[in-house]
């Protein structure tokens, strides 16, 4: 007898969302030329079909259970995403070095599970400075990559 698990509603929801993406791709393919539309239509239909099977299996509990969203530590995960998002947003405004030192420091704080002490904070800042400056030198001088200097600090 096949092993049944509780329904995996999270996986079913993701499958339904992806099926909606497939439906949107199929709908959009109306505007394409016949040659440009063949492949999107084929893959759109394949995604709809595979999504249907995953949806059915997840609701029946016949698919392996997924981990789902984390129940513990999720706030740290969200904070990490926010910090990285801000980091990217600040790259061209604050410049690569400033944005990276601040974000490195913030990410170290987000990851750390010990109470922050002045010594720990200083350590994070020191490592952030060394890593960022070291790699900036390597990329700019060694690999000739032009990193953003920041519009906030550009001469007016």
């Amino acid at each position: 007898m096949a092993l049944r698990r509780p329904p995996d509603r999270g996986a079913a929801l993701v499958a339904a969302l992806l099926m909606a993406v497939a439906a949107a791709a199929l709908w959009q393919s109306r505007e394409l030329s016949p040659l440009g539309a063949i492949f999107p239509r084929t893959i759109g239909v394949a995604l709809l079909a595979a999504g249907c099977v995953v949806l059915w299996r997840s609701l029946r509990g016949s698919a392996p259970s997924s981990r789902g969203l984390p129940r513990e530590g999720w706030l740290r995960g969200v904070l990490m995403i926010v910090v990285m998002g801000l980091w990217i947003g600040l790259l061209e405004r604050a410049g690569f070095a400033v944005a990276s030192v601040v974000a490195f420091f913030a990410l170290a704080l987000v990851t750390d599970r010990e109470p922050p002490t002045p010594a720990r904070l200083l350590r994070f800042l020191a490592v952030a400075l060394v890593v960022v400056i070291g790699f900036q030198l390597l990329f700019v001088q060694g690999l000739k990559v032009q990193l953003p200097t920041g519009s906030w600090f550009a001469g007016r």
């Binding site: 993701v14 492949f39 595979a50 299996r57 984390p70 990410l107």
Partner: protein, 505 residues
């Protein structure tokens, strides 16, 4: 280019330095539990952008081979495989460490990795050119079916649910269609933005998909400190060589298994190691000692997983079809370099191909001194890097690395966006690897599919175009075999178990 010139190019001081640096970096990253060989290569790919293609390939090959070996450290001393391919190394490595033979286990892992790596690299040297000559006969429809064969990887990469793997592959294929169509030039799915006009670049997407989910999971998880079992006090090289020589058949068999499995789509280091381990145990005169600290188990696991490196590069370089997720990353890096892998690589850019293969052999040889010295002196400091510095450090590398691709923040946004999407999907069982595969193989599949469609329609023989050519049929057969093998194998074992459990008549 003559063989001598190839050796000279591969053995230039710069390439030797790169191979050494790659092995050290790969071993260090592979040794950290939670960081995979795929992530090691993905995060270090941007360092290769300004290099010449052969040097870039040598560095990536060295990182890859080092990372696969590095996984053995934590497998032996922590009972936690540093990379998934070291899973079978824990079976006997950890019991050896517990009884005080951790140093011997590490040295044996190093020796076996070198032998396995060399067998795989020589197989690449000897098998790739003739296979490339055969592959020159391929037309568009064969390339379409090859892409489908590559996509059958999803069966092995989908974390236990092939249907979710199929969904992931379709998502990757849809992502590959964003931007200008490969045939016809239609602008598709750009949401009327300039940003998506050029499509989703493969390299930032795969850095994001392979690195960001790991980082978020590291931040979310509570595990902080890992306790070492046993210690590494010396090399015990002589003893390890004697044990390896006594296990020469096991070594040869496991290396061959690793090479062959590496060539198959989807069957990477972890499958090779488990198959080789199982074969070593089956062939042993004392199978009961396996799992209790038998050095033969480490030899089987480590020689086979390193042999997959060279084996996996055979389909990657010859056909442009990645054998493993790491090969997919290397393929992406080559695209940035403007190199199109496939049979023409060995005809038009043979110097690059051969310099890389010789470089891979050199990197594998360098693994012996590097592995022994790191295992003896640096292991503790490698795993002692606290999570609160490891996470921002790797996040920093993903940002600077994806920016460096085109000196553009757009690539960083793609990296981060696909990474967060990959994390969300992975929490619900949709692994990132099939998405990457779809993204990489999408243009190849579409080009072959549409061109074959056009030729088939023009000759009024659409079905014959797709299913009537002998090479296509052979590839379809291989794809079907790859897809159906796990099901047949499961049914076979279920039937065998039922027979074994049935009461005697």
């Amino acid at each position: 280019m003559s063989i001598l010139a190839t050796f000279q190019a591969a053995l230039s001081p710069w390439n030797l330095l790169l191979a050494l640096a790659g092995v050290v970096a790969g071993t260090a990253i592979g040794a950290m539990p939670g960081l995979t060989a795929t992530m090691a290569v993905a995060v270090l790919v941007p360092f290769t952008f300004t290099m010449d293609p052969a040097s870039a390939l040598i560095l990536l090959g060295a990182i890859y081979t080092g990372a696969i070996y590095g996984g053995a450290y934590s497998a032996v001393l922590l009972n936690t495989p540093g990379t998934p391919s070291a899973i079978a190394t824990t079976f006997d490595g950890f019991p050896m460490a517990k009884r005080g033979d951790g140093d011997l286990a590490i040295t044996l892992a190093c020796l076996s990795s070198v032998v396995g790596g060399l067998v795989g690299a020589f197989a690449l040297l000897l098998l790739a050119p003739p296979l490339a000559a055969v592959a020159l006969a391929f037309g568009p429809v064969e390339y379409f079916w090859l892409a489908i064969l590559g996509l059958t990887l999803v069966a092995a990469l989908s974390d236990g649910d092939g249907w979710k793997g199929a969904v992931g592959a379709c998502v990757g294929l849809l992502l590959s269609m964003i931007g200008s169509a490969v045939v016809g030039g239609d602008i598709r799915y750009t949401l009327d933005t300039q940003f998506l006009l050029g499509g989703i670049d493969v390299v930032p997407a795969l850095i994001g998909l392979f690195c960001i989910p790991v980082l978020i999971d590291l931040v979310v998880s509570r595990e902080e400190h890992l306790e070492l079992e046993g210690k590494v006090a010396g090399f015990r090289l002589g003893e390890a060589v004697r044990i390896a020589l006594a296990n020469k058949i096991n070594l040869a068999r496991s290396s061959t298994i690793g090479t062959v499995i590496g060539m198959l789509p989807g069957a990477g280091g972890s499958i090779a190691a488990l198959v080789a381990y199982s074969e070593a145990r089956r062939a042993s005169s004392d199978p009961a000692s396996f799992g209790k600290g038998n050095p033969a188990g480490i030899i089987a696991s480590e020689s086979s997983n390193n042999a997959t490196v060279g084996g996996g590069f055979i389909p990657t370089l010859v056909l442009g079809i990645p054998g493993t997720p790491v090969d997919a990353v290397v393929l992406g890096a080559l695209l940035v370099q403007g190199i199109k892998t496939g049979p023409s690589l060995f005809r038009e850019q043979s110097a690059i191909a051969y310099t890389f293969i010789v470089g891979l052999i050199v990197a594998t040889l360098l693994m012996l001194p590097v592995g022994l010295v790191l295992g003896r002196y640096a292991y503790r400091s490698i795993i002692a890097v606290p999570k609160n510095l490891l996470v921002p450090g790797i996040a920093f590398l993903t940002i600077i690395g994806s920016y460096a691709i085109h000196n553009n923040v757009d690539d960083v946004i793609v990296m981060f966006g696909t990474g967060v999407l990959g994390w969300g999907l992975s929490r619900f069982g949709f692994a990132p690897a099939p998405i990457v595969l779809g993204l990489i193989l999408g243009p190849l599949a579409e080009q072959g599919f549409v061109q074959a469609w056009m030729i088939g329609s023009a000759t009024d023989n659409l079905l014959g175009m797709y299913f009537g050519r002998p090479i296509s049929l052979a590839i379809i057969f291989m794809a079907a075999l790859t897809l159906l093998y796990p099901t047949f194998s499961r049914l076979y074992y279920e039937r065998k178990t039922r027979r074994g459990a049935a009461p005697p008549p």
